[in-house]
């Protein structure tokens, strides 16, 4: 019996939003194919949290719950996913295209003899086959892909698939997978959590700054707006290359590709490689002095004015409106 299996990632025994999105999308595919579905969670002390997946369509959750799995190990996790996929007779395996999922999927693919379609932003069923759509060239192009192996692995881009909870119950089934020391070839020793703002790939709102900010000392204007909106802070390649901002904030082809509900581009002209990384945002706001800047070609709402005048005003008024 073919089945659909979805891996749901936990961090600190809490599900990532992208895990809910993946479980829900994979459930939808199982429904369309008329096959069974199971979600898989891995960790230590996870039985109760696993039940939460019932609210995202999973009636059955397989939990591999071992003390040794409290800290993440890509080699051990990949082995578990592959073993469970084989045991369950899964022909479709879904993972979030998070940093953890992207690290696991290729290993799972080799172990189960599957092709992996990474970072899909849409899924369809055509003649009983799942077709994934994924961005290439950082979103300048889109390709439709079909996995030709018997078992197929897909990773789904975070923040694209919807995951509205609906009340449901899941049966959690504890399963153990024998592991030896050699399965822990790579082990996480410490997690350093950045303080405060959400990562740009996960944030619902991203506020980005470019060269128009004139210097690193003015980025507090970006941070203040991001904080009022509860958003993440992004940056253009120019300002990262200039050393004004850290690499992990860079949005664009050699940085991160983001698709938040709202992207606010401040003092960013909109180079091809930047537009590639943020054009799939649902709403784009641009503030730039030059009314002919390419950023306005993709912006829903633009203000062709001085960021130093407009940004503080926008932050101040939003503070009032949002009661912060």
């Amino acid at each position: 019996m073919s089945k659909v299996l979805a891996f749901a990632e936990l961090r600190d025994n809490k599900f990532k939003k992208s895990s809910f999105e993946t479980v829900k999308a994979a459930c939808g595919i199982a429904d369309r194919l008329g096959v069974e579905f199971a979600a898989l969670v891995i960790g230590s002390g996870i039985e109760s949290v696993a039940k939460e997946l019932g609210n995202y369509g999973a009636a059955r959750v397989v939990a591999v719950d071992e003390a040794s799995l409290a800290t993440h190990s890509n080699t051990a996790y990949a082995k578990i996913i592959a073993e469970i996929a084989k045991k369950e007779g899964a022909s479709l395996v879904f993972l979030p295209a998070s940093q953890m999922g992207k690290d696991l999927a290729p290993r799972v693919g080799v172990k189960v003899g599957a092709g992996v379609a990474s970072d899909c932003i849409a899924l369809d069923v055509v003649d009983g086959n799942v077709v994934g759509t994924r961005p290439v060239y950082a979103g300048k192009g889109l390709i439709d892909v079909r996995v030709t192996t018997a078992i197929k692995v897909f990773t789904l881009r975070p923040n694209v698939f919807t995951a509205k909870p609906e009340s449901g119950t899941a049966t959690v089934e504890k399963v153990s997978v024998p592991l030896t020391d050699t399965d822990f070839g790579c082990v996480v020793r410490e997690v350093k959590v950045a303080e405060g703002r959400p990562d740009v790939t996960e944030a619902d709102i991203v506020v980005s700054g470019g060269r128009g900010l004139k210097g690193p000392e003015h980025f507090h204007l970006i941070e203040e707006l991001a904080d009022v909106l509860g958003g993440g802070v992004g940056a253009s390649r120019a300002v990262v290359d200039a050393g004004w901002r850290p690499h992990d904030e860079q949005v664009g082809q050699t940085g991160k590709t983001v698709s938040p509900s709202m992207y606010v581009a401040c003092g960013i002209s909109g180079a091809v490689q930047h537009l590639a990384g943020m054009s799939s945002s649902k709403y784009i706001v641009a503030i730039n002095k030059d009314k002919d800047a390419p950023i306005f070609q993709v912006a829903d709402y633009g203000i062709a004015g001085d960021v130093f005048e407009v940004l503080p005003e926008l932050t101040a008024q939003l503070k009032k409106t949002l009661g912060k």
Binding site: R107, A114, P135, T148, V188, V191, H247, D248, K291, Y301
Partner: protein
């Protein structure tokens, strides 16, 4: 220390994509190709490891003759050897990884470096596939690497933070920007690279596991409205975000 760096030759970041007449790939006419930016970081890390521990750095690339240009750049930066695994055909990530893994198996390096992804297909798979095929541990999206006594401690980027990861060697590492500042090839390096040989051999055959059935351009976002030129339109912007876009 024996180090291998796997690199790719990709369209530069300013390229505007046109779909070719085959409907599944890009039109390469007029496109400038370059060393994939994350692979440049990987090369730099390989050179730094060699500077510290001695040994040898070999750059490998799988693809057509055009990849020699990128291998030449690696030689100019300072790698000792360059190997082109030749295949002019179409491969998916699995096929590229299988070709590289076959060669790496006989090379048996202590450390294999990759860029975290090639900036063409953005699959972010090849490095980890190779590691799994060779039965090695790996760390992806690495921003810091410390090699000591047959072990590596590295930091990798995750959403909203970093993971400190420990692995034994041999292992593979996928470099992220910020790991180092890649050097510019010196004029001397560029001249020397012209005379260094590039070893060529056919890449081992591999099945296609992920097939591209269509390529298209995303529906272009239509330009919206410019509300005004100064702060007087801020209330209107907030109203639109609240009532029309409903994002706040």
């Amino acid at each position: 220390m024996k180090v291998a760096v796997c690199i790719n030759h990709v369209p530069d970041t300013e390229t505007k994509i046109k779909v070719s007449s085959d409907g599944v790939s890009i039109d390469k006419a007029g496109v400038n190709f370059m060393l994939s930016p994350y692979d440049e970081v990987a090369i730099e890390e390989g050179l730094k490891i060699k500077e510290k521990f001695k040994g040898e750095v070999t750059a490998l690339s799988l693809g057509g003759d055009s990849h020699k240009e990128t291998l030449r750049k690696a030689l100019a930066m300072g790698v000792d050897k360059a190997v082109l695994l030749k295949d002019e055909g179409v491969r998916d990530s699995f096929g590229v990884a299988a070709g590289l893994a076959a060669e790496l198996k006989s090379l048996s390096p202590d450390i294999i470096l990759f860029g975290k992804q090639s900036i063409d297909y953005d699959g972010a798979q090849v490095g980890t596939l190779v590691a799994e095929m060779l039965g090695m541990p790996s760390a992806a999206v690495v921003v810091k690497m410390d090699v000591e006594d047959g072990k590596v401690f590295c930091e990798r980027e995750i959403e909203g933070g970093h993971e400190v990861v420990e692995t034994k060697l041999p292992a593979a590492f996928l470099a992220q920007k910020g790991l180092n500042e890649p050097r510019y090839p010196s004029l001397k390096g560029i001249m020397a690279a012209k005379n260094k040989p590039i070893e060529e051999k056919p890449a081992v055959a591999a099945e296609i596991r992920v097939e591209t059935t269509a390529m298209k351009k995303p529906v272009p976002k239509s330009a919206g409205k410019i509300l005004g030129t100064d702060k007087s339109v801020v209330p209107e912007l907030i109203r639109l975000l609240h009532e029309e876009a409903k994002v706040i």
